[in-house]
């Protein structure tokens, strides 16, 4: 392929937009090329309905250093910053896929995996007094794990923490992940707390996005000065706290239903304090569900034993220990599901 513009494949555009199938009365989305010609998305059912004709929001799709098209949207839902962020992700994703095409990668799977990799957070901010560590490993088929550690735009500079897992697999799961990640991020930036952020994310998934998949997620906000960690859990494996004083490793129980299924989550806020020496460990079910060649599952007891053996070290040590234990346990079996481990340790003074 020599023309980057030709990399914006109409079939793929339709498929990706269809996988979000937004509620048409709230949000209309289309993709147009640089001349304004529609490539896919909402078609005009009335003069005011066509985002390609009267866009309220335009996002560039870039490929090979140039603009090859635009994501255009209209409708009341675009006033929501979370929806705007998600549309940014769609534009970025289409650009990634076009780029992969342009560079002639062999299979669509390889392209989608490449795009997904770029969506999974691999950089953590530096937080004085804390160690932040993570490990992410993609499954042979596209899974839907994602996590993010970021500094929230707030005078106290709290740290936002998100870990999530889209149920199901394949390109649909990967794209829903790409969509949901900025939605949760923006919700966490714009909500009074993590429980409200997940509630808001759920509302967007239920009202605006008609995917058939679910997401389990934990969102949290850490105040580095005090160690106060506020979290909310939507159907995800409970967070683990490894106390620095040698006390038993504890799961922080309590949560609401998973995202995208019911109209309300009813997720309580989980308020814990990370004291100096304490470590928070988050993981996805790819860890506990990992299968050995014998058919045995890694399981929660083995996870706790592994963490216990590594405690006393840094957050990186704990993440590395779990990663290695799962790899050894799995042996020659290839990972059936994405694996994500995140740890945040508060250093001793």
């Amino acid at each position: 392929m020599t023309d980057p513009g030709a990399a914006l494949d109409p079939e793929r555009v339709e498929r990706i937009l269809a996988s979000f199938a937004p509620a048409r009365d709230r949000l209309q989305v289309a993709v147009i090329d640089t001349t304004g010609r529609p490539i896919g998305g909402s078609s005009a059912s009335g003069p005011g309905d066509d985002p390609a004709r009267e866009p309220k929001l335009v996002r560039d799709i870039t490929c090979a250093g140039g603009i090859v098209g635009h994501v255009v949207a209209s409708g009341p839902a675009i006033d929501d910053p979370a929806v705007v962020s998600a549309l940014d992700a769609v534009a970025a994703g289409l650009g990634e896929l076009a780029e992969a095409d342009y560079r002639s990668l062999a299979s669509e799977l390889a392209q989608a995996r490449l795009a997904q990799r770029s969506f999974v957070s691999l950089r953590a901010p530096a937080v004085p007094g804390y160690d932040l560590a993570s490990h992410y490993e993609a499954a042979r088929e596209i899974g839907g794990d994602f996590f993010e550690l970021f500094t929230v735009q707030h005078p106290r500079r709290p740290v936002g923490v998100v870990i999530a897992d889209v149920t199901g697999k394949g390109i649909g799961a990967g794209m829903l992940m790409a969509f949901a990640r900025p939605v949760i991020h923006a919700a966490l930036e714009n909500s009074p707390g993590p429980a409200e952020a997940l509630e808001r994310t759920n509302r967007i998934l239920v009202d605006e996005i008609r995917s058939g998949l679910f997401i389990t997620a934990i969102a949290g906000v850490l105040d580095p000065a005090t160690g106060r960690l506020r979290m909310a859990n939507a159907g995800h494996e409970p967070p683990l706290i490894v106390p620095g004083d040698g006390g038993p490793i504890g799961a922080v129980e309590g949560g609401g239903v998973l995202l995208g299924a019911f109209r309300t989550l009813d997720a309580p806020e989980l308020d814990v304090e990370l004291r100096p020496g304490d470590t928070l460990v988050l993981y996805t079910d790819g860890v506990t569900d990992a299968v050995a060649t014998s058919g045995e599952r890694f399981g929660e007891p083995r996870l706790l034993t592994t963490i216990a053996a590594a405690r006393g070290g840094s957050a990186h040590d704990i993440v590395a220990a779990v990663r290695d234990a799962v790899t050894v346990f799995r042996g020659s079996a290839s990972p059936a599901d994405d694996i994500t481990i995140v740890a945040i340790g508060r250093r001793r003074p």
Partner: protein, 139 residues
Amino acid sequence: MALQTTVERVAARVPVTVMALDGELDASNFERLIEDVRGLYAAGDRTLLLDLSGLTFMASSGLVALHAIVLVMHGQRPPDLEGGWSAFHALTDAVEGSERQTEVQLCGAQAPVTRVLERTGLDRLFVSHPDRASAIAAI
């Protein structure tokens, strides 16, 4: 970690199709399970009791399967098609209005499976019975 399914038709107050799941329900077999239930619905089965007493493990893809099975038994296309999602919302709305669907019911769920259902809230979708006999008596 294979999954075996056994189907038996029982005459209760209404004809009940009992499907026993034995083994592990995970990403490698959840699609086949949905297909099997689609076959049952096509054959005219309308009340499905899933006997989970032999199910030792359920991954999150099992949740997708259970959700899809509810849709199939309500005559809907399974998810990722346009109709599926709104149909599911209609079902969950009914759940929130405390009118639970009864076309698909569960029995005999063991702790590892119950834990996943409760943690994710999908237990709200189902009437659950302790074992097959009490389920059939109740249906």
